[in-house]
């Protein structure tokens, strides 16, 4: 397995473009540029935005992003020290239901689900959150 880890100093929403650039650079070290990378970066951007908006609630905060690859998948592990926020608990928007019956949910998480094959969340024992985005690349 190959892996690249990026340690971000306290970052905020204004840093999103640079965060995307660095993470995309790491991903393309492990997989050829193209649709997989484009979609994965869209998903990661939504995950990072959730951390900054919901986790750190607009305040600058640390993040660690580990990008890895094995024969079957690209994995992006995002760790923060923010308030607990579990994006995998956000219901999928069901556009077949009438409004009154529909569960609340966000397009950001919807994009994350659309462009990955698996999302894994856990609250870290020492505080903070870990979200792993898995994108299959073969099979």
């Amino acid at each position: 397995m190959s892996a690249i880890t990026i340690y971000f100093p306290p970052v905020c929403l204004d840093d999103l473009a640079e965060i995307r650039r660095l993470i995309e650079s790491a991903v393309v070290c492990l997989w050829e540029p193209g649709e997989v990378v484009t979609e994965l970066v869209i998903a990661i951007n939504e995950a990072v935005t959730n951390v900054l908006v919901h986790g750190y609630q607009g305040q600058p905060g640390h993040m660690v992003v580990k990008v890895s690859r094995d024969n079957a998948a690209l994995r992006v592990c995002l760790q923060d020290q923010a308030w607990p926020f579990n994006p995998t608990a956000v219901p999928t928007p069901d556009i077949t239901l009438p409004l009154a019956q529909r569960q609340p949910g966000g397009m950001g998480v919807h994009l994350m689900r659309q462009f990955t094959h698996r999302l894994q969340y856990r609250a870290l024992p020492e505080g903070g959150n870990e979200l792993v985005l898995v994108r299959q690349i073969e099979g």
């Binding site: 869209i42 951007n45 935005t49 529909r102 994009l111 462009f115």
Partner: protein, 140 residues
């Protein structure tokens, strides 16, 4: 970083073309909404959003599109400060929409942006044109 250029053209009705250049994400979507509000205050009622040089669009960009489309429709837009809650209203409109937006249309989105429009259902809400002349003429 998002740069915005604005152009006025005539096609039977006055059409404003707003060109969004760069990356539209949570750091810039409020600025785009404010631009839309300013245009509406100044009289814009038909708007073409040129996405030909928009290299990235996040879900927050969809909030901006939704707000501006509502403005052009003559409806009260979502509070942009509650942009994340506004996603719920977007879902509603995706579900209930039976026709394209008549007063807010999209021009030539880049493949990455088109992908986001497609998987969120927004491609079913907006007329999307490849050609500028055809897009402008569609308002007439």
């Amino acid at each position: 970083m998002m740069n915005v250029t604005i152009e006025q053209v005539e096609s039977g009705v006055p059409v404003t073309i707003i060109k969004l250049v760069g990356q539209l994400d949570a750091s810039s979507y409020l600025d785009v909404i404010e631009t839309g509000k300013k245009l509406h205050r100044e009289g814009t009622r038909d708007l073409l959003i040129d996405m030909s040089e928009m290299t990235f669009m996040a879900s927050s960009g969809l909030v901006a599109l939704h707000n501006i489309a509502l403005l052009m429709r003559g409806e009260q837009p979502q509070d942009p400060e509650a942009g994340w809650a506004a996603m719920h209203a977007i879902n509603r409109d995706v579900q209930n929409s039976s026709s394209f937006e008549a007063h807010c249309k999209l021009l030539n989105p880049t493949p990455a942006v088109r992908k986001t429009l497609d998987v969120t259902g927004f491609a079913n809400l907006f007329e999307i044109y490849d050609g500028r002349d055809e897009a402008i003429a569609s308002f007439g």
